[in-house]
Amino acid sequence: MKMRYILAFVVLFFPGLIFAQEKYRSDFLYNFDLYRQDQEQYRINKLSYLDFQSIDSKSKAIASQRQVIVSRNLVLKTYFQHLYEQLQLSKNDTQDYSQIKQMVDSVIADLDDMNESIQAIDDLDSLNSFSDLIEENRVYYNNLSKLIKDVIYFNKLNKLHLKYGTDIVQKLKEEYGQAEISLYYDRDLQNSLSSINSQNEVIVQAIINFPEEELMDERSKSQNSLITEINDYHNQLQNHLRIIQEIITNDFKLNR
């Protein structure tokens, strides 16, 4: 009987436990869907107003223009919440991204403010100016999203670095019960270890000291160099894992 209750509990709550970790993802997808509907409505009303120039069509066009800007802001807000949530899920306990958190919080507060103040605007010219003002932030939003994605990408690699970047020989010896690895692989392994360790440290520093003003630049040099370094690190980590695999296959597995 007890078993039945436990089973029922697991069946009912287990999916909830999994998805509880990603609460902003569905918000983002939902808002994106609403935005697309609003955008379609805006397009129809805008064409109708441009064709007929009537008072009624004008008020409908203004209402739908305001609505699509509000929807778009909600998409951006939930997107950054979702992105930041993914960053939190990808990082390890010791990492601190307070600078990124500040930037995301500031973007979300701005978007909320805009959605509040847009409600008071009811003429076409003011709405157009307001829309222009928001468009100026486009590069910043884009660059901020790239930066967070790069950090998530690095964090995922970093988790593997924590696993394979330290004392790997000891772990192999425990697993395969062998005292030595060949000099050839020992040299290769030491080289790749020192290379990925130093590269890892470079990227950590680049993320921590990332200049915020670069996010306003459409061709941000810091961002480009960060992504180049992460891609390079990606390849080095892949190479490192390949060397470990060769050690297991050639040095350990065959002599087991």
Partner: protein, 132 residues
């Protein structure tokens, strides 16, 4: 010469027999005779149960062999000569331990860039502008 009759032969034979022997002269054929109904039935039932047991064991054995054959069949890889290799080539799923873990992580590394596509900045219309 005195002719010995058949009955005298029998008497002489009986005289020569040692009655002190422990062996019974007349055995109780009736009690052990297969012709006895009860004994015949018991004997037949025993035989029947042995046959059933043998058939059941053979059946189980055949099923077990079939199962072994089916499970091994997929793992045996034909060589280029058309013969079967004696030992199955280890695959990712059959290799336990650290090597398996490592291979999974190599796949993770390959897939990280693809996962990132799910976080792509949404495609939005920034030209929300009405000019009559």
């Amino acid at each position: 010469m005195k002719k010995i009759t058949k009955s005298e032969q029998n008497i002489n034979f009986l005289k020569n027999q040692s009655f002190e022997s422990n062996e019974p002269i007349f055995q109780d054929f009736e009690s052990e005779s297969p012709l006895n109904d009860n004994a015949k039935r018991n004997w037949f039932e025993k035989l029947l149960s042995i046959k059933v047991a043998i058939v059941a064991l053979s059946f189980i054995g055949i099923i077990a062999l079939l199962l072994v054959f089916v499970s091994v069949k997929d793992k045996v890889i034909p060589t280029t000569q058309g013969q079967l290799s004696p030992t199955p080539i280890p695959t990712l799923t059959t290799q336990p331990g650290f090597l398996q873990e490592l291979k999974n992580d190599q796949k993770v590394i390959e897939g990280i860039r693809l996962e990132e596509d799910n976080l792509e900045f949404p495609s939005l219309d920034w030209d929300i502008y009405i000019s009559p």
